[in-house]
């Protein structure tokens, strides 16, 4: 069996290594804390000399996402990374990509807000990420990594999903996952696609029109409302297909549990420790971790929590994913929220205390 090389690095560095290894064609980005290591790592690794991957520091996040629009519309695997205020600036471009059906990957290493906020970690962009974020009826597929390993693994997965659905895909990380160092096995090396492969796999791409086909046009504009409605219905059918087939989650120790904590990303990592503490104290608790935040794993959650005594939704925000939890399970069992705000990362004990005071003591 092939021995896998284990290395130690930050989540941000893992993203940079992963994009080179999985055959990304370009990175366009603008520096912002806490994710600047991504572009810095790329600049040090100089992938343009090895795989031919383009790395360009853009003049703004607005420009970055539009470079992703251009490259993705021309059939290339293009990625940008930023943090919350920068991702807010990208929403125009993400909406246009969804409208024009252009694939591309956006990594959001979240920090606390609103506004310039703080450079400390947060999960307060959940709503923006899972509700589209820009104008119009659209969705972005959202993956939430909870480890450095997943930061690395989700890059290729995001490209696969982006091209499968011709839609933007977001990796919704945060300052904890981006900055912490962990063991990671980097993904296998995959060559960049050739011109022939792109022409074959992406017949829609604007790569120059051979005489044999009609022009390809990337646009989100349509002035006739009856046609625009048809386009919207097509997009909704696509999103429904993603809802039916792409949900992912991780379920830990829920079989014998009385209580289930629902948490994603770094909050889920902290909750793993909370579970350990709670079980030592005789509280039977399990963890349900959505990996796709959109589409939200509703069916899996309903099945997991059936017959339990209560749910605690632990997030590093004021209560955002809890709305999706409630949409999934209704009022079928007591549901409480725990969150810290403004860049404060909760302690595992705090989550155990919240479970006790907000659910167990109220029974």
């Amino acid at each position: 069996m092939e021995k896998k090389e284990v290395t130690l690095m930050k989540g941000n560095e893992a993203v940079a290594h992963a994009m080179i290894r999985c055959g990304a064609d370009a990175f366009f980005g603008y520096p912002i804390t806490p994710q600047s290591e991504i572009i810095e790592t790329l600049a040090l690794l100089k992938p343009w000399e090895t795989t031919g991957m383009v790395v360009l520091q853009a003049e703004s996040e607005v420009a970055s996402i539009n470079m992703v629009y251009g490259g993705g519309g021309a059939g290339k695997r293009v990625i940008t990374t930023s943090s919350s205020p920068g991702v807010a600036l990208m929403q125009e471009g993400i909406s246009y990509m969804a409208g024009a059906e252009i694939p591309g990957v956006i990594v959001n290493v979240q920090r606390g807000g609103p506004g310039l906020g703080t450079i400390q970690p947060s999960q307060s962009d959940y709503m923006q990420a899972t509700r589209g974020g820009g104008n119009g009826d659209y969705n972005v597929i959202v993956l939430a990594p909870a480890s450095v390993q997943e930061m690395a693994d989700f890059v290729d997965l995001s490209f696969e999903l982006a091209f499968k659905y011709r839609n933007p895909v977001m990796i919704l990380s945060d300052g904890v996952i981006g900055q912490m160092m962990e063991k990671v096995v980097l993904p296998p090396i995959k060559p960049r696609r050739t011109e022939e492969q792109i022409a074959k796999e992406c017949p829609w791409a604007t790569i120059g029109r051979p005489s044999s086909r009609e022009p390809n046009i990337m646009t989100s504009l349509e002035l006739k409302p009856e046609v625009m409605e048809e386009i919207n219905i097509h997009l909704q059918e696509k999103y429904q297909l993603a809802k039916d087939t792409e949900t992912r989650c991780e379920i830990t120790d829920c079989d014998d549990a009385d209580y289930v904590i629902v948490a994603f990303g770094s909050a889920a990592r902290i909750t793993e420790k909370s579970m350990e503490i709670a079980r030592k104290r005789g509280i039977k608790v399990g963890l349900f971790r959505p990996i796709t935040l959109w589409p939200f794993p509703e069916k899996e959650l309903r099945k997991t929590v059936a017959g339990k005594k209560g749910i605690l939704v632990a997030e590093i925000n004021a209560g955002q994913m809890i709305e999706d939890v409630k949409l999934a399970i209704g009022n079928s069992l007591p549901t409480a929220h725990f969150g810290r705000l403004g860049g404060i990362v909760p302690d595992p004990e705090e989550i155990v205390n919240a479970l006790k005071t907000k659910l167990i003591d109220n029974e």
Binding site: G70, G208, R209
Partner: protein, 255 residues
């Protein structure tokens, strides 16, 4: 001897093959149609029909993709130079150009325009300057002349209220990344020929990797200006060329 003068051997002028038969949405008298034709002719003469990607703006030219049978991307308002950067960096052997109006290029997209030009992206930018927002119904543009009346400066543009016209082409000529910066117009045959030569030079320069080019076409918007096509041409010659004088501002191409 064929007595019918309308025959192939007597053909001296024809519509470029890249232009399709879709009826244009442009107003009669508008400069866009002529410039579209010049772009189509240049692409054909370069033999780049199968290797060109155009980037259209938001504004009157948003539908440029309906008229020229090449691949197109329609960019968000002002972002065409960033979109074109993404395409050109990944397909360097393709001809990638943007086609933008004054609101798109000189107002909402000033940042993207200046930075793409100054990075020396191998992209020619066609800049239609008609000193007004045509598509939205004739509002003030960054290039609207002092005293010019529009829907949002109905008493005329006043510097104290609205600031001054922005001369993007002069600005571009000072950027190290640009290799060819010129200002042209298309109101008569002589001007049209010069404008076509400028577009050809800009497109050639991009394929030779010489850097970025800006070709401003001082244009008429007779609907927005509320003038007949003939009056609009006269008004342009009398007023626009004073603020926006024609000619090459920078040329390091040796082409």
């Amino acid at each position: 001897m064929n007595n019918d003068i309308i025959s192939p051997e007597n053909l001296v002028y024809k519509k470029p093959e890249l232009m399709n038969d879709t009826a244009m949405h442009y107003c009669a008298g508008c400069s866009h149609g002529v410039v579209h034709k010049l772009v189509a002719e240049v692409i054909e003469e370069m033999g780049m029909q199968n290797k060109t990607i155009g980037v259209s703006p938001v504004g009157c030219a948003v539908f440029a993709y309906r008229y020229l049978d090449i691949d197109w991307q329609e960019a968000p308002h002002g972002r065409a130079p960033a979109v074109a950067t993404g395409i050109k960096r990944l397909w360097p052997d393709r001809l990638v150009f943007t086609y933008q109006g004054d609101g798109d290029l000189a107002c909402i997209g000033t940042c993207e325009t200046i930075h793409a030009l100054n990075r020396g992206e191998n992209i020619p930018i066609i800049f239609i300057n008609n000193a007004i927002y045509g598509m939205t119904g004739g509002q003030m543009a960054p290039t609207t002349l002092i005293g010019q009346k529009t829907a949002t400066c109905p008493y005329g543009r006043e510097p104290e209220l609205h600031g001054y016209p922005l001369n993007m082409t002069e600005l571009a000529s000072h950027l190290t990344g640009t290799c060819f910066v010129t200002r042209q117009s298309v109101e008569n045959v002589a001007s049209i020929r010069k404008a076509k030569a400028a577009i050809r030079k800009a497109f050639d320069a991009s394929m030779k990797g010489l850097g970025s080019s800006l070709v401003e076409i001082v244009s008429t918007c007779n609907s927005g200006w509320k003038l007949s096509p003939k009056q609009a041409n006269d008004w342009m010659e009398e007023h626009m060329f004073k603020e926006y004088p024609k000619g090459d501002l920078k040329d390091t191409t040796n082409l």
